[in-house]
Each structure stands twice: as structure tokens, then as C-alpha cells.
Symmetry: D2
Subunit: 337 residues, 4 copies
């Protein structure tokens, strides 16, 4: 796979939104809006445009009704309109499929965008222009459920983590943390543009697949509250793993599965990474605190299951096998070894 | 005032409910139900019967529509039906007005009750029998606002705190904490039957008046959330004092005023007092941490304003002047000295 | 087993303290004092007397150096000195071993006590008199670790849960919650004297063994903090299960194992049970929320391992086999079925 | 005052550290280290170098023993070594005093730096190079007191807020929020380089003076804990204002005064500002929620008192009078109008 770009990278600001295909929009609305607390910015019979209550742009999550549950695309915001063009040239130079999506023809609320199938096989959009939305930051009166404040990150499954690392490095991402073997084999990596631990992370495994979306709350009691509400309704089967404290990122977390099986992480309290010489922190794959700081075992489904992705024509992408399997390497925390 | 009883005291279990007269039931519903999170057990055009989500009996707060905002009565639950009779005899022996209220004629959900005007001039009810209500303890899905779990205590203004102390002692109440002058003049006292810091407390001041109802949440973040929601709606004028940490009781608190000016304290995290030899903890009136452990000044309205009370015929009781004035004695915390 | 008493039961106030035999006092001190935050009321070369910072009596936990890790005894406080005598007569009438322990000859800080081997085979002490200790309730400056406020309960393993239930009922304990089979076979029960969910609970299993001591914090963030500190030190193997929310009791919990394998539950936020007609809440053994409200699986060791108990002569008691095995009956939450 | 730069601005990363002169280093150590939880990176007889537990560079606070309590300087980190030179040229072009401080001659842990007296009269340092320090992010075992994670911002008093705004705008700072009069007179502004609400804010008032340093915790319960510890020790007089929720920034806050009167704000939970088109949010000076979202009055000392600053020769700078006085304009929240 050629990941050495011959065209300058766009200036990516942050992970901006994901579009998921869900098979039952009403059930998805229950999960993401009623339970997680996303705010509905727009909805019609076929789609929901959602944002967290700290977000000031039109949406950070689009749910689109469809036949097969899948990731339609993830999207990064770039710094200027010119960076959208840069993104197109960057991926064309890599020989990847690229599609221009003029304002009004693609996702509601966006201006001109570019959608590509990146070297890892993921459908990724780059855009600058997005409608601003009413400030809800202090609308405690409409907060409910998990009180999601904003999208935090994408976590993707890819068979070749070093290639994913190299690709995102070429896009200007920094690396905050890794999980590595004794010979520095890369099992997982967390990479960022905004000043948090990550905008994107790679979980070694069959891919391209979406492992999860990470969404942020302000404090840990909101994470507990979310789990409690699922229990109250007898919907505890949506809770897959946690709550717990991550070793990597130090965030407090809870993994949920939506009615289609899409995984979401409710996530809070990581740390600042904005200094220019921020160093990567490296975990050994056999440290049982790396994925749960308290040593609690990782559920097998968390390692094995993920969301398929669509290509630019909306067809399911074929999935390649994992090269290194952390769930086998791992001992304590995973209980799978 | 004769407070030496010649008849045995009823076995009081706990502060059980209060009935307030409100002048606008819709506005009161907004405050107590929407904002504080009380659950509506019953409502009609003239009244609201409310309880916290941990409470298993029919109500802990009755709001009754009326001309003049007032306290109709406070009520204690007793251990057995016979204790209701004991209460009647106890107050008759004191020469106080006593009224029997057969089941079905008084407050909805109650069995036979006795209502008295106690030696302090307060309308007080004693009952044993009360309807049980559906368990909501784990209904996190319906919690909202301040997420009130239960009624905790009554705080009453009385000109003669030593007399109030003696009266409640004769009813078998223990004393957890006091505020005293250098010569042990009693400025305030906290007295309990259930195993918390108090079921009733006395604030020296013109009385009989109701200073506030104390209602409990599980954790302090719920108290903060409550204040935040008032701010969101531009209703911050309902916040009178706090949030803060009490010296007395060590509880975390927030004082609010309802649309009629009735004061309520959202209260959490006091301590166990159930041992038979539990000792009274005494604060000096000049310790600026006694009312706010962080030394923040007490708002003047908090010392001066309170809810008038009704007698057994529903007429406003005349108010006697304070004998000792803590707000004058006080130095630091109060900013009033 | 004869559990019908012919002598009146003592008036038990609450679960008061436990004495554990630990094999390395220094390691035990690290765990209970440094990590959990217990306050050292007294220590010498052979023993540690500890209490939580809300506790006003001399100790709630005694750690005694010994050869074999075991429970020496659990202890209940009774209402009056006469209740100590009542306890002696009560257990003698049941034909159980009873030993008087005069003040000064038994546990430091206590007055006259009675120690018995109860019908379930557990070493249990009853006492009234205990030294008072300095008030630490507001000593936030010395709080550390898990910031344990007080002992909350004992949880004991017994092969015959209905017999345990009957015995404690005869001692005047109420029952807040149970786990039952479809035919109301009793798998577990939570019983109380103080106004919380329990002073003692029974886990069906080989016994007599101590399943765990439950110790209370004020809020859930203190429980998370405790787990985080274990992770920081690479001592996450002391974390056995949780943090999580219980179905039974609704408390937020974390189970830890001390250096000798004694299990302790850090526990917060249950509910008031003090009304005279408080009803038992019954969970079906197949409800996967009963032991974890979020449906997380119970670790196998949690069901299988426990602390042996000593008889009145200090010898290890033989252990009887379980009659009903919840870990087999259970499906979802336990992952053991 | 000339604030139009003729030389390009350095690329500022963030507010990086402050150096305070304290008159009693031992007392200052108690406050900042024991009570606030700063980590001591280095200390000698005359100085303390401190950082929060999330910080990965040598220090974010330097306390220097001296005769007169003052601000020695604030410091910003820039993106590259060249930006240090740019800073020198930028301020020279403005005709301001500029001093080069070679590595080893200035603040411990730093490389080459430039110190200037900026157009507002403040001593400000710019540096790129700083020693890295051991990662403490997950050292929950050494956290204590307020558990400060990192420096968040500087708040400075200046008589001419519009001039301060223009100066920092010329340095490339964005503006997240303002307090304005009806005619958009600028009373206060919050400006940022890192992706939070601010690195620096201006409080209209006599200046140049340092209003406060803002230091961040992860969650609000850590702020409460900090206040509680001050109360425990009878040191509640160090608590000046709060805890409370800000209108501006939405952060949860507590203002403390150190033994020399230097003000520090413990601050948590603001929001992301990293998007290129982030818009300024404007508060009217008469909205009583702007400084406390709950409408609590601002203490007069908070408006009136501040720390004097030193010039590049270490002499106290003269203080100019305020031009607009928010404390007079203000109505509700301030109680000063």
C-alpha cells in the first residue's frame, strides 16, 4: 500500500462527524437521542442529524435509514476551503478514489466536501464549511440521558496498524499513545489533531470496519447515569463493557451497542496534547491495565465485533484479516489469552 | 409554656410529609415537579401529592391551592396505630388543641390521623397508616431535575429555641447538633428520630413559621445540576443560598424559594446517628463555619424570611418575636453582624 | 437446626465491627489504612484497631496478626447493657456455645461482651459498651484513599439461606431484599436493624464463611478514586469485581481482596428502610440485573471464594456444602451458567 | 498606546507558567502544594517549581521568595525556537522593553526566552524550549488536595480592556466570550490560543495587576473537596468566592487567596474552541448570570483586589485607574450596584 503522499496534506482540525446506516430509525432515535442525550438538529423520514450539547456546528452524527447497518463515512473538518481541495489532490496523488460533493448535494448543513476511500479502505470525508447551530452549552434544562457534550473520536479496525499509523502521520496527526509488543510491534495507536488524546485510533483486527464512535461527557457521574438508565429499562444488554477507567488515555469509559450493533464509547476526562513536542506514551501489550486500568477483563465481543463500512458507491467493503491479534497476545485484562 | 407531658409520648418514626398552601398550583408544579424532580403520585384541580423517588409511601409533600401561601401542617409517622392515640392523649395532656381526622376525611392516602397545634404553635399531624406506592428507587429513567430521593427534615422558626428543644425531647427526639452562645444559650438545634442528623431543626426567630423543608438527593452533583437548570432557564432568582457545605450536619446544600416563597433545602450526605448514646455536637455561634463550612456569608433573607403557619381551623397563626438573634450574634459567616 | 428461640432476643442496633486474622499486619495496614482510608485508632505489634471517619465509636474493624487468615468474629452493638445478657440467654436457650467476655479481657475499647457460635456456625459478639472516639466527620484534611466513612454490613456464606433468614428474623432483623427462584427458593437475603438495606446478608454457598465486609463511602466518585489508586500502583489484582451498580440495594460497589484474600466491598448510596412496614423486594435469580444492574458478569471467584471462620476456641470451623447454587442457576449476569 | 504591530506575531501555543513573588515560601508551599495538590518538580531555599499532575513540562508555576508579593511575570509557550525571536522583534517593533534571557540564566528548566513589558504594562515571557518531566497523569496515588491537573489561564486587570483585546488579537488570540454594555462597551474578554475558553482574560480595573491564575481539575467534586479541606483546617478565610458555576465559560469554579493574597481559581469543565470560525459569545453586563450562573453575588474584594506586577527590572509597576467599572454597572450578581 502506497502511503507516501506526493501532494501536501490538508490541515485537519478534528474528527467532525460520522454517518451511520441504521436499519430502524425509530429504534436508533431511542438509543442516540433518548438514551445518550444527543440533540436533534434536523430529522425527516429517512435521517436524523444529531449533535452534542457543547457542539456549535450543525451535526456530529448522521443516522441514515438503510437496508444494512454500516458506516457510510467518517468526516474531518479542515481549516480552510482550500484544504478541501488539498484533500482531493492528496488522495488522488495516492491513487485513491475521490469524489467531490458540492454544497447541497451531500450531507445537509455542509458546504463543498470531498469524499475518498482512503488507503486503509475507509470512506472519509473532508469539509470546511458547515452551518453553525444555536448554542446549547448552558441548556442544562434540555440535557438528559448520558448528556453527551460532543463527538470525541473515531476508532477503526484495520489489519495493518503500522500502515494506518503511517497514513495518518502523513496527514499530520500526532500520536499520543500506543500498545506495542516487546519488539515494538504496533497493536494499536491513538492519533490526534485537536488537543486531546485522539481524533482517531486503530484497533488491530479484521478491517476496514468501524470499531466505535467516541462521544464525550463532562464528568464521570454522567457515564454512570447512562448505564443506570439502561438498567432501569431492562435494556442492560446494550451495555457491552465498562464503566471503567482506561489505561490508554486515562479516560473513564462505557461501551454501548446501539440497536444495530454499532458501538459507541461514552468517554470523559482525558488530557491535553497540544504542545508541539508532545511525546507518545507506549503501553506493552501484556500490561493488563492498558485497556482497563483496573485490570478488568475485556469482553470478547469487544475485540471481535465491529461495523462494516461502505465504499463511495455505497457497497459494503470486503474485510481483510487481522495481522496481529491483541486479544491473543493479551493476558490479564482480556481473559482471552 | 407547659412542655412537661403527663401522658406517654407516641413513638415517632420520622418526619413524613408537609402540606403547603400555594397560590398557583401550576407554578408550584413547575417548581416541585419539573425542577426538583418530585414524582406526582396524585393530582387534581386543587392539589398535588408528591414523593421522592426513594419513597415507598403515598406522599411526602402535599401542595394545596389556596388564597394565602402558608404551611398547613407538618406530619410525623408513628410506629403503630396505637401511637396515634398516644399522640392525641399526649397533646391533650399538654392542653393543646387536638383534632382526630378519620381515614378518608383528611389527607389522601392516609388512615386515621391526629392533628394538633403543638406547644410551639405549629400544626402537626401524627399518623401510622399510609398507602404504599410503587417502588421507583431504580427508575433512573424517570429521574429529572434535582432527582429528589426523599423528604429529609423540617426546619422551623421559633422565638424560644430552648422550649422547642424541651418539647421535642419530651417526644423522644435526640439532639445531634446545636449552635450555642458562650454561655450555652441555645440559638439553634437539630433533633432526630430516624438515624440521620435531623427530622426537625429550630432556627431562632419570629415564629411559629416554617423556615424550610429539607429534601435529600443521593450525591452532590445532583445538587449542582439543580442549580444549573435554574440558571439555564433564567430562574436563578429561585436560588437563595448555596450551594455550600454546612458546618452543622456536614451536608452539602442548596436553598431555593418556590414561586410562593416557600423555602426548600436540597440536602445530601449527612451521617448516621442511630447509636443509643449518640452525643450532641455543639457549635459556637461565632464559628463562621457553623452554617457554611467554607465561611461564605449567609444571605440576610435566609435569616429573616419564612412561611407563616395555619392553625387547626386554617387561620394564619400570629407570629411572636425572636428572643435570641443569631444573625446579630454572628460575625463572619453571616455578614450581618 | 433449632432456630426457634425460647428466650427474648436482644435489641440489636447495628453491625458494629469485625475482627479479621491477617498473616502480615504491615501488608494489611497498607491495604486497609493507606488504600481504603481507615483511621488508626490504636495499634501495637499484633493488632490494628480501625474506624471510618464518620464513626464515633472506638473501632469498626480489628486486624489481628495470626497464622491463618480467618474471621475471628463479627460483632453487633445492642441497645442497653441488659441486651448483652439477653443475648447470652438467647443463644444458651438455642443450645449454642456462649462465652462472657468481661470488659478489659476481650477487644480493646469494649465493655462487657458476649461471644457465641450462632446456629449458622458463625462467631458473633454482642456488646453495648464501647469507648467513644474523637469526631472526624469533618476532617477532610485527613481523608485519603477510598475515604471510608463507616462499616455498613457483613455478608456471610451459608449453605442454608432459609435457616439463616429464620435465625436473623428471630433476632428481630427485617428483610429488605431477596434473590429467589421461581418457586421462591431463597438464594440470598439482605437483613437489617439500622435503617439501611442491611446489616447482614447471606450468600448461598459453602459455609460458615465470611463473604465480605461492606464499608461505606459518601459518594460514588470516592469508589472510582479507590480503584484508580490501585491501578496507579500496579495493584489492580486487588480489584476483584466492579465498580458497578447493584440491582439488590441499588448501591454503587467495588469488591476488593486484601493481601490475605479477605474480601471487602466499598459501597455507597442505598436507601432508607426504617418504616415499620417496610416491604421485602424480591429479585428472581434469573434477572441478570440482580447482582449487577448493568448486566455485567459476576467473576467466578466472587461466588466461590470466601474467608474461613474461627470457633470460640480459635480453631477453624469446618465448612458445609452449599444447598442451592446461585452461580449455576444464574444465566446472564454471572456468565457461569 | 500603539498596539498595531509591524512585525509578525509569534505562534503562541498556550499560557505556560507564572512566576509569583511570595513573602513566606513555607506558607506558600502549604497553600499550593499541600492544599492545591501541585507537584514539586524542584525546590531550594528560595524557590519552588510546581506543576499539575497532567502537565508534562517542567513547571507551570514558580514561587520565588521576595520582599513584596507580586507577579514577576507570566509566560507563554510558542511553537518553535524561531517564534521566540519573532516575539522579540514583535515587541521591539511596538517600542516595548524587551530582554533576551539565554538558557541557564533565567527560569530553571527553560531554554532561551524573551521577556517583555507588553503594551498593557505586564511582564510577559515567551519561550519554546522546556524540560520534559515524568508523566504523572495516572499517579492517582500521589494526588491530594484539590488535585490540580494543569494551569489553565491568566486573568489580568487592565484599565483599558479594548486595548488589551486589540493587543492579544494582534498576537493571534481568538475571543471566546465577552461582557459588554448596551452599546458594546467592553467590560471583560476571554481570549485563547489553546482549544479552551481562554489562555488569558481581562477584568476591567486598575492595572496592570494580576487578577488570578486559573488552574484546572478534571471534575467538580475535586473543587468541592478543596473547599472542604480548607474548612476542616479552619482556613476558610482563604476561600474568597464560590464554589459556583460561571456564566462566562460555563466552568465550575472556586476562588482562593494564597497566604500573600495572590488569587487562584480552581476551574473545571469549560468547552472546546478549536474550530477556525469559533464565534464570540457576548454577555450583557446586566445579566446577573454572567459571573455566577446561579445569580450569587460577587464578593466586593473579588472586583477590587489584585496582585501588583513587576517590571523587567523587578520594580513594582505603577497602577492606572479603571476606565469602565463592571462592579458599578452590574446589578444582581454583584450586589455592589
Amino acid at each position: 500500500m502506497n502511503t507516501t503522499p506526493s501532494s501536501p496534506a490538508p490541515d485537519v482540525i478534528r474528527s467532525a462527524y460520522a454517518q451511520l446506516v441504521v436499519t430502524d430509525l425509530a429504534k436508533a432515535r431511542w438509543f442516540w437521542v433518548d438514551m445518550l442525550g444527543f440533540y436533534v438538529q434536523y430529522e425527516d423520514a429517512h435521517s436524523l442529524y444529531l449533535r452534542g450539547t457543547d457542539e456549535l456546528t450543525h451535526h456530529s452524527l448522521v443516522l441514515r435509514q438503510g437496508e444494512t447497518a454500516a458506516l457510510d463515512h467518517i468526516a474531518y473538518r479542515v481549516r480552510t476551503p482550500e484544504d478541501v481541495d488539498k484533500a482531493a489532490r492528496f488522495f488522488r496523488a495516492l491513487g485513491r478514489p475521490v469524489r467531490r460533493i458540492p454544497a447541497g448535494e451531500g450531507t445537509r448543513g455542509l458546504g463543498d466536501a470531498v469524499r475518498v476511500l482512503d488507503p486503509l479502505g475507509f470512506p472519509v470525508e473532508f469539509f470546511y464549511d458547515i452551518e453553525r447551530a444555536e448554542r446549547l452549552i448552558q441548556r442544562y434544562d434540555i440535557r438528559h440521558g448520558a448528556e453527551i457534550a460532543r463527538l470525541d473520536h473515531f476508532n477503526i479496525c484495520t489489519p495493518d496498524v503500522p500502515a494506518a499509523y503511517a497514513h495518518y502521520e502523513s496527514l499530520g496527526f500526532g500520536c499520543s499513545e500506543t500498545i506495542e509488543g516487546d519488539e515494538h510491534e504496533l497493536y494499536a495507536a491513538w492519533m490526534y489533531r485537536k488537543q486531546t488524546v485522539h481524533d482517531v485510533a486503530f484497533t488491530g483486527g479484521a478491517g476496514p470496519r468501524l470499531h466505535h464512535l467516541g462521544v464525550a461527557t463532562h464528568e464521570s457521574h454522567q457515564v454512570l447515569r447512562c448505564a443506570d438508565i439502561f438498567g432501569s429499562l431492562g435494556k442492560e444488554q446494550h451495555i457491552e463493557r465498562g464503566p471503567g477507567r482506561h489505561g490508554v488515555s486515562n479516560a473513564f469509559y462505557l461501551y454501548l451497542r446501539d440497536p444495530d450493533g454499532h458501538r459507541v464509547e461514552v468517554y470523559t476526562s482525558d488530557y491535553y496534547t497540544g504542545d508541539p513536542d508532545h511525546e507518545t506514551y507506549r503501553w506493552n501489550v501484556r500490561d493488563d491495565r492498558r485497556r482497563d486500568f483496573w485490570g478488568n477483563a475485556v469482553i470478547e465481543s469487544w475485540y471481535k465485533e465491529a461495523t462494516p463500512v461502505l465504499d463511495l458507491e455505497g457497497r459494503l467493503c470486503p474485510v481483510g484479516e487481522a495481522q496481529l491479534d491483541e486479544s491473543t497476545a493479551a493476558v490479564g485484562a482480556d481473559g482471552l489469552g
